[in-house]
């Protein structure tokens, strides 16, 4: 196992653990304001200090981890859940009109600046975590569709697929039973990368006020609140940023590490 994989898995496990722990316990209740103890520096009773309302930053980071991970995870789920079947379908009917329509549709979604459309969606439907998920999820669909089709096409030429066809299996069964298991590794790696992009997108949307709404804690929102305080209490702005940075870095390293670990060809080249 590579160093990337270990560091990446460690960071990912740490932040996922924080998010999971927040369901059971946080050091303080983040909905209780404690103005006399506002903007405390890290240390003492508040390990990471307090914000401008006297809320415990560690507790907010834990709750924010939950929001970020939930939004990004569901968005990746939408992308995979729709993109992978579309890609498999396009590959099974390669060269047909259906294939063309699916791939042109993909190109079109790619042509849209994703953030602009996310803003458009939240502008019309109102800002909320659910609309952020939909906005981010839509742009994951073509990523997975294109990757799936690309990986599935060469497999359709292989002998074991021919054998499956001879034994009387239809395109749908072959896609599910023979193609999918062979491209699963690739999907896991891409899923990790899209997960990290989802965390960044969620942070950006909630930073401009179009993501999760208060009182739901989110890292982007914490940064927006901290922006005017950056000169008097830098830690309030630095800590949520580091949380985003480390989570995204962890997921990217995990993705790289998994790719090297799951793909034996690359491993041979490296050793």
């Amino acid at each position: 196992m590579s160093r990337n994989l270990i560091i990446g898995a460690g960071l990912t496990a740490f932040f996922t653990g924080l998010a999971a722990l927040s369901f059971l316990w946080t050091p303080y209740d983040i909905e209780v304001l404690d103005i006399p103890n506002r903007l405390l520096t890290p240390g003492g009773a508040h390990l990471l200090g307090t914000d401008h309302f006297g809320r415990d930053i560690l507790s907010m980071v834990m709750m924010g981890a939950r929001t970020s991970i939930a939004v990004a995870l569901v968005a990746v789920g939408i992308g995979m859940g729709l993109g992978v079947p579309l890609g498999l379908w396009a590959a099974a009917r390669r060269g047909s009109l259906l294939d063309d329509v699916i791939m042109r549709g993909n190109d079109l979604v790619f042509a849209f600046p994703s953030l602009v459309i996310a803003i458009l969606i939240t502008a019309v439907f109102g800002p909320s975590a659910v609309n952020a998920i939909i906005a981010i999820g839509i742009f994951n669909i073509p990523v997975f569709a294109r990757l799936t089709r690309g990986a599935a096409l060469p497999l359709w030429e292989r002998d074991f697929i021919l054998a499956a066809r001879v034994s009387g299996k239809g395109a749908a069964r072959i896609s599910a039973e023979h193609i999918l298991p062979n491209i699963a590794n690739l999907m896991i790696v891409q899923g990790t990368i899209q997960f990290s992009l989802g965390i960044l997108a969620e942070a950006a949307l909630s930073y401009i006020g179009l993501g999760a709404q208060p009182p739901t804690a989110s890292w982007g929102r914490m940064l927006a609140d901290a922006q005017t305080l950056v000169s008097i209490a830098p830690h309030v702005a630095l800590i949520p940023g580091f949380a985003i940075l480390l989570t995204v870095l962890g997921l990217n390293l995990l993705g790289d590490g998994l790719r090297d670990w799951l793909d034996p060809r690359i491993r041979v080249v490296r050793t």
């Binding site: 600046p113 942070a203 401009i208 940064l223 940023g241």
Partner: protein, 314 residues
């Protein structure tokens, strides 16, 4: 080449038509009555009726869509409900902040990424390569609006080299460029990291090619072969990424403009959202999508002109 260009032109037109239908549908059909949506729950019925008439909402959908598109083609983006000014004027004012910002960031990102990527590829596996690749991992993981806040903290608040935000206008070009410098750096960081990685891996792919072995066999040093043969070929995927990045830069500018209080398209669209000024939102989004599709079209044509193989494949 002409057949290739015509083919691209057809798909460009199709993309624009579908994009405009999607935007029109999201903004004008899904909210039900856009006039009631824009005015909010407390609006009086006669105000809503007045806005409905002004927006031409009593016309059938197809007619409204046709009017919107034909207006845009002639440079008429409609009238803003909140500013009481033509949207085209609003856009013309703001674009002189957003466009220079995106171009500035693109230039910075290319200036940093090219040398970094080339150096890393030529020192593959060495300490310099490892350091640059580590830096790019950080670069893609940092949220750029947070990086912008750190830049403000260090260079505006502590060192006082730059102002923390605002834009003085282009009357004094030097002051304008200075005001765009921190935003451009923040915007460029993740793109530079991605571009450096693409540059490196594209070059490394080329180093394994037969023509590189030939170049080395005829007596060129590694460095000469890299500069004369590998770099030119490696630029094709890099060009594609630069084209794609332009759309990220334009969209990313929306957020970075918020951090630095820059009066660009991003702030315009954002204020229009808060004021529910759908006419502005619709037109600015369409303009951004149009720009992105056009840039990608130009990139496609450019590298088809550079590389005949791509023409044949399409």
């Amino acid at each position: 080449m002409i057949r290739f260009a015509l083919g691209r032109l057809v798909s460009l037109t199709a993309s624009l038509i579908v994009a405009s239908i999607v935007i029109f549908a999201v903004v004008e059909v899904i909210p039900g009555d856009p006039a009631a949506f824009m005015l909010g729950v407390n609006a009086r019925p006669d105000t809503i009726a007045a806005l409905r008439a002004e927006m031409g909402l009593d016309e059938p959908l197809i007619a409204r869509y046709a009017a919107w598109v034909s207006g845009m083609v002639q440079g008429d983006f409609g009238m803003s409900w909140t500013y009481k000014t033509p949207v085209a004027t609003l856009i013309a004012d703001r674009i002189w902040v957003s466009l220079p910002l995106a171009i500035y960031a693109l230039a910075l990102s290319t200036l940093v990424a090219f040398p970094a990527g080339i150096y890393a590829a030529s020192r593959r596996g060495g300490a310099g390569d490892t350091a640059i690749m580590g830096a790019t991992q950080l670069g893609v993981a940092i949220p750029n609006f947070w990086f912008a806040m750190i830049l403000v903290l260090v260079f505006a608040i502590n060192l006082r080299w730059f102002s923390a935000g605002g834009f003085p206008g282009w009357a004094d070009p030097w002051a304008a460029i200075k005001a765009l410098t921190l935003p451009a750096i923040a915007l460029a960081l993740p793109q530079a990291a991605i571009l450096a990685r693409v540059m490196r891996s594209s070059l490394l792919d080329m180093l394994g090619e037969d023509f590189m072995r030939t170049a080395r066999a005829k007596g060129l040093t590694c460095r000469q072969a890299l500069w004369r043969h590998a770099l030119r070929n490696a630029l094709i995927p890099v060009l594609t990424i630069i084209g794609l990045q332009f759309s990220f830069l334009l969209a990313g500018a929306i957020i970075i403009e918020q951090v630095f209080f820059l009066p660009g398209l991003g702030r315009l669209i954002f204020q229009a959202i808060s004021a529910r000024d759908l006419i502005v939102v619709e037109s600015v989004v369409m303009l951004l999508v149009f720009t992105v599709i056009m840039v990608n079209f130009i990139v496609d044509l450019t590298y088809a002109a550079v590389d005949p193989r791509l023409r044949a494949r399409a």
